[in-house]
Amino acid sequence: MDTYAVHAEGVDRSFGGVRALRGASFAARPGEIHALAGENGAGKSTMIKVLCGLVKPDRGTVRVTGRLATAFQELSLLPDLTIAENLLLHDPPRGRLGLVVRRRLVPVAKEVLHEHGIDDLDPRTVTRDLSVAHRQVVELVRVLATRPEVLILDEPTAALQEQQVAWLAEHMRRLRAEGCCVVFTSHRWREIEALADRVTVFRNGTHVTTRERLTESEAVTLMSGRTLDATYPPLAPPGDTVALEARVGDVEVKLHRGEILGIGGLAGQGQRELFLTLFGAGRQKPAVTVGGTARTIRKPKDAIRAGIGIAYVPEDRKAEGLLLPMSVRDNLALATLERRSVAGFVRRAAEHRAVRDIVDRLAVRTASTGHPVGTLSGGNQQKVLMGRWLLSGAEVLLLFDVTRGVDAATKHDFYALVADLAAQGRAVLLYSSETEEIAHLCHRVLVMREGRVAAELEGPVGDAELIVAAAMREREHV
Amino acid sequence: SEKATPQESKGKLKIALSNSFIGNGWRVEMENVFKAACAMPPYKDQVDCSVFNAGNDVATQSRQISNLIAQGVDGIVINAASTSGLNGVVQQACDRKIVVVSFDNTVDNKCGLTVNTDQVKFGEQLAQFIVDQLKGQGNVVMVTGVAGTGADNDRNAGAKKVFDANPGIKVVATYSGSWDSATAQRQTAAQLPSLPKVDGVWVSGGTDGVIKAFLEANRPVPVVGGEAENGFRKYLAGVTPPKVNGMSIGQPPFLSVISLELARAVIKGEHPKTSVTIPFPMVTSETVKVGETVFPDLPDSFFADFTDSGPNATVVLCQEAATDGTPCPGKTLAVKLG
């Protein structure tokens, strides 16, 4: 008998043709915080789903000792239910006859939130209406409230702000002290370093190593088989031709060719609306000057065609970017179909050439451009999405939190790509929930608060704390 | 009846026709002759008519009848969406001393009166004709009506009885043509290729469609026992080639007019509260007469038995009444309730 709280051995699991886990093993003990690290697609989430019984392994054994609670990577809050209903779904307050006493739901939920130090959320709010960060907080409270003996958190911090991360860390440590086994995944090495007692590295669906001490560069090498040089690339100086100029509500944006302009601030301060609006997908339809010509942008099509062209890369590539069952070729070509068509008919040969060219340029790893994009690894999916806009020749790139949940090696490639695109004269507007990125990758940073620009900083700022400080002035926790 | 007197003092009786669906020419004609009759004496002066269609939905028809009760009508004439589905509301009408007469697709409830032809006999007679023509030997196809309705069940039962009694007759296919020529044609076309030689067809409705399907498949048209569609009779008379050997029995559309008369007479106390069965008009390839029982200029979907004839005719109507619902010129309508 071992002393493990969770223990999986020799687990195989395939989805269709994709082998997500191949003979993978994983074990964690009570009273430890155990990080599970690996590239996108390494099989971390699949292992977690196997551990909690949501996915049945094709082969292998799994054992969990103690009450288990899991927060999944894809949020599992029920969007049409209120915070209270979500928190109390399994154990609602009941009266005689065992019927749910609906009017007790809200006070009980308030109590639960309060116990976990959350007082600024109304339990009556339908969770669909919450920001991603708040949804993640509710999700975490939901699992924490079950008083687990084994707690598994799959990328719990991806959507959280610094303060919220600290809040979560506190709870994880408290649980560890109570003898709970805490397992979590993250692509941010800082967090792993700060929290984990031990780290397990996965690669290609198998266990590589489990260690108590591991440096970031060692980890990256173990995860990807590559050694990475300095995380952030050097920036070329920006030009002075204005590429895009617009006023969205109270925010004035003036973006130059060759410039990477960072948009910082806490999550949910109007950054997303700003990006969507500039791309014609927001509520307001402002006048935008693109490459010298003024245009009213009413829909994305207008943005794509406006002047030197605008492109928008969303954080959630599966929901807002890619058409997963469609081919790499179709996905790449979609935004610019009419450029390679005669009388509405696609010129296949031209398309093939154009697509092939982009695939080679970005080194997208795919057996064929005819393969469904959904079968590609996350990083390669990201490249396809970027490739679509390179194909469109857009000179203004709106990149919204595109590295969220992306592994270290891919991020590294991505930073280089962005810096390179800027050096070629493209203008980049960049938002990231990871303030580090904004601090290092931008020529200039606008810090947003409540829909306004709270501060403008010259970049590269270098120290993320400065941006956080600017964002936080006059603000409280969560 | 008690109610008649105050109504009369105000002038007219209120009688409403509640029809289920108008899915074919028959129903349209049935309503047309009703409207025409209402515009002719004596009804013109005695009765305030209204007409309602419920689109084959029992609940809708039931609501409409309830509302008629609320309106305080004196009589309701019904072609029912369901034999049984209106029993409840009909009972309520009866309870309020409203005279209810159902016809064609009648209502079960015994408190109401019915006006109909003998539907079992309808089926029997067509079947017997086919048997006789085939001298008791041959393959027969049965094309039935809208499944689950009273008229369909009775006609089928009658036909089956006759065919079963003749061991030389083999029923090689039975399918529904839904009393609709287009449907009957499609269904027949689908069947024909896999059928052996067909010697006789028995059709509950949609007869011309069945014949067209035979012609299209380049099959000889067998002996046909069918309804009174003008299109069918054109073949019987040889107006449209080829001339077909057959018998045509029609459910007469003027059942609605007879029902109107029965309702009126019962309310006025001129007729006992009894149901009425009328003979059905019948023609064969021998007896069919152009201009009288078949009309070359009218469409195939027209029901050629819109009127009765002869010295014992129940009611005599003109063609305009059937095609347009306009009253027949200068005539008082006399309906013999037998």
Partner: protein, 324 residues
């Protein structure tokens, strides 16, 4: 690469369901030919194909809207309305036929436009919009034709139109050539044009398609219009076939159009499917009914077996993704 590998790849690929659809049709046809002599003859096949073509037309329209996750419940009365418009405007005269056909198709397009605008611009759920529209059309058709008592409603289809069904070209009924034309049109539209790419994009993920510059609303409206046009085409050919419109003409085609689409391997969730599959689906449906009738299965049994066969087909290839 071995043949086996190729076979495996095709079976795993996007065309898998189309192949299944053809297999299903072939199975029923072969079973029919074995069970019932005469069922497999050319005359029999030809008739079944003609009957299948009507389902094929409504199926084309239904498939186009299903591809973008929609549904068209207004089919029965678009079909019927077009049939009535055709007869009332042609009055049986060959000279008026082109105008009449144009009018009938125009009615289909106009109704489809209204459906599309309601769904795409006003955000009315497709089920509600098209169900409501079916009622509106039924009311208008019945009301304006006074329940088909109008004299002109009772006209016949002009002779050239009727030859569509009776006439033969190289031994093939012209109706079937028309169907082949429709199949070619839909297939080319969906696979070779930029519009087709956009249709699949919208069907797979409307939000992502929108953010890639696809005019999602425009695409949706055009598809509903095409659906209306195809329903009208079915109405026109049915009049050609029966000579006259009747009021229940469109009723059976609502559920059959949906059944043909899914038996044809199109995903009801949108984004996946090809018209050739729907062609096979239409034939399958007609073949099942014909066989059941040929075997003289009583009405209740036909209903039960028809339902069970469709279920069986759905179980073989109509399931949603089986990932976890």
């Amino acid at each position: 690469m071995t043949t086996l590998d190729t076979a495996k790849r095709v079976l795993a690929g996007p065309h898998r369901r189309v192949l299944y659809a053809f297999a299903a049709a072939a199975t029923i046809l072969v079973a029919g030919a074995v069970i019932h002599p005469g069922f497999g003859s050319w005359t029999s096949l030809r008739t079944m194909l003609v009957l299948a073509s009507f389902i094929g037309f409504v199926g084309a329209g239904q498939m186009l809207v299903v591809l973008v996750g929609g549904i068209d419940l207004s089919m029965p009365w678009v079909l019927n309305g077009a049939a009535i418009v055709l007869t009332t405007s042609s009055l049986g005269q060959s000279g008026r036929l082109p105008l009449a056909v144009a009018l009938a198709l125009g009615v289909g397009a106009a109704v489809g436009l209204a459906n599309g605008l309601g769904v795409a611009w006003l955000g009315v759920p497709a089920v509600v919009m098209t169900l409501g529209m079916n009622g509106v059309l039924q009311g208008l058709s019945l009301g304006l034709s006074k329940g088909l008592t109008c004299g002109s409603c009772a006209s016949y289809a002009p002779e050239p139109l009727r030859r569509l069904v009776v006439g033969r070209l190289f031994g093939v009924p012209s109706e079937l050539l028309l169907w082949a034309g429709v199949a070619l049109f839909v297939t080319v539209l969906l696979t070779l044009t930029t519009f087709g790419r956009r249709v699949y994009a919208v069907g797979n993920n409307p939000r992502a398609a929108f953010l890639a510059g696809v005019g999602v609303r425009g695409v949706t409206v055009v598809l509903y219009m095409l659906s209306g046009v195809f329903a009208a085409l079915a109405g026109i050919t049915l009049v050609a076939y029966g000579g006259q419109p009747s009021l229940g003409l469109g009723d059976p085609y609502l559920f059959e159009s949906i059944a043909a689409v899914v038996v044809g391997g199109v995903s009801i969730l949108g984004g996946r499917g090809h018209y050739v599959g729907v062609v096979a689906g239409s034939v399958t449906l007609v073949a099942i009914v014909t066989l059941l009738q040929a075997e003289r299965v009583p009405e209740y049994g036909r209903n039960v077996i028809y339902g069970l066969v469709i279920l069986a087909i759905l179980f073989t290839y109509g399931r949603e993704r089986a990932d976890d």
